[in-house]
Symmetry: C2
């Protein structure tokens, strides 16, 4: 007997018909002999309705009460799913976050899970029940209801799966897996049968919306085996693994991109020690997350200090920087909201230099100017003018041959060596 | 410092504007120096929306999950009210049933409060908070969320008031008090400044919708001082007292009526001991509440056995009786759904005979035939053809002079005896 945790997002439970469809999938898993724990989000639209009520009654809704209000969304969807399962002759119980033992810190609206007491869930599983748990919510030490912030249902599922030592945590969503790039931009994009946890983390961090970064972090920390699947289509989805497969290690696994950021440069900063922290400290105090940071010595001896922020925080950051620039004697502040960020991600980069160089060559061939670059062990990120984003992504997808199914290095039918050569030829001949 | 428990029904919190209005009333009580606990129902319409979802997904929604679903309605209204209070600079916290320590038995959809652990509420009051509690819900010993059934918010307020030893439990509703009769039927009906608990119980039991009978029962058992007031208009409302005032003891305090019942008669029942229980036992097993029961020896030696049930249970009861009648050798079953029930209620009846006689005379003068009669110490109830209901109620209201403000027996300005005589003359001249 194995234990599976399934998570269904808001679109998957967005209507009574869809809840019935989810019930069918849950029943199929139960009838295949698994113990099943299901984590659900609120019905799509319901959270927005509740948020509208909150902002209709208060300009700045009290955090504790906001969590109290919004957490009702999952309580509705979970009880409807449980009803549907009971109606079809199965044993099912729904549980709120506190009933399922999801403990969090006290940040009402952006709480983090601190502990899972799975005794209640385990008891209900032992009684033969399918257990439906409200995603996105928990309880703090004082007994207040908390919410985990957007995407929190994924985190609930992952934390529960880890605590229950589930055999698999299946995240059902409206796409059928993780792709080499967003198929809406790159029609040739290919679903990845698997991806490493580190790659997934980098992908989520730079805009691949399949999984929330926080959920991937928790999965990584707790070593919960994750799979992303579609609620609407059958298929194996994408498995997020903790070991790198020795069989298949492409240099680049996928391309992530977004245009949700903006770039700010403090121009002509006097080149003194500690100047970077003088610039970034007030930004941090305003709770603005800073992403790429680049410092260049400029021609006239001063330094240009550049970083990116979320676009919705651009104006606030700009205002702060203008004051800072004056204070530290810099020449001024320059900003640009029309940027896009593109990242290549792949664990193969560790042992394969030249990815950045090839990336620059491909973009250069399309006359796309690179404004910023940053690299990590398994990622190269560039910032370009946003109007070239689609062009750049498609060129990189083609240039790195991400649409081509990688051939397995081991093939029992053909002789091993021949197959290996064929594969490397196929890969090499399109390298610039 | 006194403690007030206020309860606002679904209409009173039916929109954001109305919630703001409730917040004003709560703040006024707080600023008058009271500790305030507020019990709220779900926003009007919200419960219906949730019930529709439940019956959309299941023909017979599982009770546990139904309570889980429907209890979100109060969680929404309470958090919105708390937000509104916080936004206006007051300290307020909302609490679900379980957070407020409302313990119930395990009948998910019709649970009864078994205990109140007020420690959490008291702690928050001691911290200077206005405490908003979800009505209509609690938690059973297994930690399942339960609901109290329709009107349960009144019961929550009364039970909390008793547990906290509140100075007053104020039930805010869409009428400004308890009337001598429903003003929609009797325009001359008069608001009663006070009514005894026993009278209120009888009134609630026979269709006066101001307070749920269960809430009045709990108030009586726990001796919680109750007041019914309007959410929309200023005014003292009606105080429900536990002592009968020596000053004012009208024979009849009010008239209650309803047309929600139906009458069933098993005709020609063989006159043997134990036959009544043979008829009523299967009705009780089907969870059908029986109200008036009358047994008459009929002309041909057998007995006619008559009782009333809720109209929505008429068909089911009729089917059961047909089988029972055959089994016990009765002649048949007769039924009538077009009946109405009218009751006169008043503690003065205890010491004043002739009320029933006067009632029959007034109805007889209007050519209204009386089908059934039952009496208690402080109530006389008749069943008549439903088409005469309004006529009968108005005739009784006029005949018993309920629209006339009763004069106080003690009047310090005029000589005592003269005033007494004037009052009794005014009363007597309209008898019969």
């Amino acid at each position: 007997m194995s234990l599976i945790v399934q998570k269904y997002g808001g679109t998957s439970v967005g209507s009574l018909a869809r809840i019935r469809h989810v019930a069918d999938k849950v029943i199929a898993a139960k009838e295949a002999g698994h113990d099943v724990v299901v984590v659900v989000s609120a019905m799509s639209g319901d959270t927005d309705r509740l948020v509208d009520l909150a902002y209709g009654i208060a300009v700045e809704p009290c955090g504790r009460e906001y969590a109290m209000l919004v957490s009702t969304g999952e309580q509705v969807s979970m009880s409807l799913l449980a009803m549907c399962l009971v109606e079809q002759g199965h044993q099912a119980v729904s549980m709120t976050g506190w009933q399922a033992g999801i403990f969090t810190d006290e940040l009402s609206r952006k709480a983090r899970i601190t502990d899972v007491d799975n005794s209640n869930v385990n008891k209900q599983l032992a009684n033969g029940n399918i257990v439906i748990v409200a995603g996105f919510q928990g309880i703090d030490e004082q007994g207040n209801i908390t919410t985990l912030g957007r995407g929190g249902s994924d985190t609930t599922a992952v934390a529960l799966a880890a605590s229950l030592e589930a055999d698999e945590c299946q995240i059902y969503t409206d796409v059928d897996g993780v792709y080499t790039a967003d198929p809406r931009v790159v029609p040739e994009a290919r679903r990845l049968p698997q991806i490493t946890f580190e790659e997934m983390l980098e992908m989520a961090g730079v805009g691949a919306k399949v999984l929330q970064k926080r959920a991937v972090e928790v999965a990584g920390k707790l070593k919960a085996p994750l799979r992303v699947l579609s609620s609407f289509e059958e298929g194996p989805g994408t498995l997020i693994t903790f070991e790198e497969s020795p069989m298949e290690k492409p240099v680049v696994s996928g391309i992530a991109f977004n245009r949700n950021e903006a770039k700010l440069t403090v121009v002509g900063v006097p080149d003194k020690p500690g100047i970077a922290s003088k610039i970034l400290a007030p930004i941090g105090l305003a709770n603005i997350d800073v992403d790429m940071i680049i410092q260049n010595v400029s021609a006239d001896g001063g330094t240009d200090f550049t970083f990116t922020v979320g676009r919705e925080e651009y104006q606030q950051a700009h205002d702060i920087l203008k004051a800072v620039a004056k204070e530290i004697g810099a020449k001024g502040v320059r900003g640009n909201q029309k940027i896009a960020k593109i990242s290549l991600v792949g664990v193969g980069m560790r042992t394969n230099s030249g990815v950045a160089q090839k990336m620059f060559t491909i973009l250069g061939a399309e006359n796309i100017n690179i404004q910023l670059v940053s690299t990590s062990e398994i990622k190269v990120t560039v910032v370009i003018d946003e109007k070239y984003m689609e062009l750049g992504v498609r060129a990189l997808h083609a240039g790195f041959e991400l649409g081509v199914e990688p051939k397995e290095e081991f093939d029992p039918i053909k002789p091993n060596v021949a197959s290996k050569n064929a594969a490397s030829t196929a890969t090499d001949e399109k390298l610039i």
